[in-house]
């Protein structure tokens, strides 16, 4: 469940991240690809009425998943998912994180950062960790 995830793409090594005064950890897009995340926790939406994610069917099984880096300070990324049959997970929300990407010395902004993180998430094999965690937390 807690195996590290490693992107197979060409990566720029991630030096120890630095947290800014505003709480963001600022990275280059190439450094994002080098981030190794471990699974923290996943859960089902206890109150589906609160789920505001786009694309989720009212009767679908939905939940959240949380991943962190082992660095200090830690990078945190979470997103919502929907389970479809046969067992298949689909990301249904933008990522939520403490990352701000930068290029040419400036922030690229929350929307572009989210797009980069979405691409990063979608390149990872995260579904099995979610399934294992859900199975452990909610079985019996």
């Amino acid at each position: 469940m807690n195996r590290p995830l490693i992107s197979s793409r060409q990566q720029t090594p991630l030096a120890m991240p630095i947290i800014s005064e505003d709480g963001y950890i600022r990275l280059l897009p190439s450094q994002l690809k080098a981030v190794r995340l471990i699974h923290l926790i996943s859960g089902l939406d206890e109150y589906p009425a609160e789920t505001t994610s786009c694309g989720a069917m009212p009767t679908a099984i939905t939940g959240y998943t949380e991943w962190i880096s082992h660095t200090a300070p830690a990078i945190t990324i979470g997103w919502d998912w929907q389970m479809q049959t046969p067992v298949f997970f689909k990301r249904i929300s933008e990522p939520r994180s403490n990352i701000m990407l930068k290029a040419a010395g400036s922030d690229i902004g929350p929307a572009k950062t989210a797009a980069w993180i979405e691409a990063y998430i979608d390149s990872l094999d995260w579904e099995k960790s979610v399934l294992d965690c859900i199975g452990l937390r909610y079985s019996g």
């Binding site: 709480g23 859960g43 109150y47 609160e50 830690a74 990078i75 939520r96 994180s97 403490n98 929350p110």
Partner: protein, 181 residues
């Protein structure tokens, strides 16, 4: 929906009692948080004369939502109890940063609703709370909350981001989140 805000001293005593009853019902009875509660009133050391409350009442006058605002230049929940959620950063201490805590929007007169942020007024109450903090000088807010507040903040159109990773407490992940006022 009627929204009222003010400090303990400015709110009618009966409304303050209803707020603490409502918090007991939401946080202790419904969510099962292990909080100090007496006579079905949930209050802690951060409920002081200078604490600002934002409260929503439905057409029957029942409390249907609440929020608590504290300036970070005085003791506050995140700084005193959960500084580990700040990812190694020192807790803010300035009148320009206010803490939002004990946020809930559940209308118990609507049986179909469940969940801490389930009421349709949740987004409106969140906006009112952030505007209220801004009117007291806040340029940014920080909140210690369950993860669900991120969805609400996005729905309300606020720029918010995590201050650090969530921690699992009593089986539920909570985290600290920055909100731009």
């Amino acid at each position: 929906m009627q929204i009222t805000s003010g400090t303990t001293e400015r709110l009618p005593e009966i409304l303050f009692t209803r707020i603490s009853n409502y918090r007991h019902k939401v946080f202790v009875e419904m969510l099962g948080w292990e909080l100090r509660s007496r006579n079905e009133m949930e209050l802690d050391q951060f409920d002081r004369p200078d604490t600002v409350y934002v409260v929503a009442q439905n057409e029957q006058g029942q409390v249907s939502g609440c929020a608590r605002l504290l300036s970070t230049d005085r003791p506050y929940l995140l700084g005193e109890v959960f500084p580990q959620l700040l990812n190694g950063m020192p807790p803010p201490s300035t009148p320009e940063v206010w803490e939002l805590s004990r946020f809930a929007a559940v209308d118990f007169s609507n049986q179909a609703q469940s969940g801490q942020f389930s009421s349709p007024i949740a987004v409106g109450l969140l906006r009112e709370a952030i505007d209220c903090a801004a009117s007291h000088g806040a340029k940014r807010l920080i909140t210690v909350s369950p993860l669900g507040i991120e969805r609400l903040l996005r729905k309300a159109g606020f720029h918010a981001h995590r201050a650090g990773p969530p921690m699992v407490i009593d089986g539920h992940p909570i985290f600290a989140c920055w909100i731009e006022a």
